[in-house]
Structure formats: structure tokens, C-alpha cells
Amino acid sequence: MKVKKLTLLLLLGATLAVVSPAQIQHIEMRVEGMT
């Protein structure tokens, strides 16, 4: 039973890690001299 729970916990953790990677999500620049 404990092994099952642990496996589920590991799977959940792995899924969350894939869904929410550390990275830049958005970049916004204010620029000058653009025509």
C-alpha cells in the first residue's frame, strides 16, 4: 500500500515538473528609433 502511494506521489511530482518548467515566459521591450 505504501509503495503504491509513494509511486503515485512520484508520478504527480514528475508531472508537475514537466508542466511547470523554470523558464522565461514573456519578454516586453520599449524601443526607440523604430519606424
Binding site: A22, Q23, Q25, H26, M29, R30, G33, T35
Partner: protein, 132 residues
């Protein structure tokens, strides 16, 4: 400039507003985008970057000089400029807690009309970081 930026590594899409002088860049999911490279590419296309803001997720780490930094990829991190919004982040350094931050990564020095971008970039938080 739009095409030039769109060809840079890690760029998914580029939206340009001529009226507002604003450029919005959506990164690809591969995490290979490099803000410094984007500033250089913009400068190379004859346009000056006055300001760059980013929204990013990452872990807090201490860099080689002991300064607090946001790590967004194994080989990419941005030093955090200490301010009111960055208070409490020190405690998260080295932990696995992921935070989402919004801040100013680059601002053109005042007075200079067309100066090459000064690097390295430092992140000044504009909002209080959110966990997760």
C-alpha cells in the same frame, strides 16, 4: 526588426506596436531564449532598446559572487537587484521552490541617445514574486 528578432534562438513569436514603440516576444517552450542576445539583435537592426521587462519562473540561487540570482535554466541566471520586492527571497536561495517574477532586466542609461547595451543584465523586481 520583427523578422530579425523572430530568427533569434528560442523566439516563438514577435509582436510589434509601432505607435507605442513596444515589442512583445513570446519565447518557445525550449527555454533557449537569451534576453541579452535579443537586446543585441535589436540594436543591430538599428533600434535602441530603452527598457526590457520579463516574466520568468525559476529557482533562487546564489551566484559565484554570493549575490542572489534567479535561475531560469541550468546555464541561465539573472542577478537580482535588491529592493523592497526582493525581500525574503534570500531564504529561498538553494531551495527547490519555484517562483514567478516580473521585473525590469534592462534600462537604457539616461542621456545617451544611442548607446550600445551594457551587459550583464540585472533583474529589478517590479512585483512581489509569487511562489509556483
Amino acid at each position: 526588426m520583427k523578422q530579425h528578432l523572430g530568427r533569434q534562438s528560442g523566439v516563438q513569436s514577435v509582436e510589434v506596436s509601432l505607435v507605442e514603440g513596444r515589442v512583445e516576444i513570446t519565447p518557445k517552450d525550449d527555454g533557449k531564449i537569451d534576453p541579452a542576445q535579443l537586446i543585441r539583435a535589436t540594436y543591430d537592426s538599428g533600434v535602441t532598446v530603452a527598457e526590457m521587462q520579463i516574466t520568468a519562473r525559476g529557482k533562487m540561487v546564489k551566484d559565484s559572487s554570493g549575490n542572489l540570482a534567479l535561475q531560469t535554466a541550468p546555464n541561465q541566471s539573472f542577478a537580482i537587484l535588491p529592493n523592497e520586492k526582493s525581500k525574503g527571497l534570500d531564504e529561498l536561495a538553494g531551495s527547490t521552490t519555484v517562483v514567478t517574477v516580473h521585473g525590469e532586466l534592462y534600462k537604457k542609461p539616461p542621456g545617451k541617445k544611442k548607446a550600445p547595451p551594457s551587459l550583464p543584465l540585472r533583474l529589478e523586481l517590479l512585483e512581489t514574486p509569487k511562489k509556483g
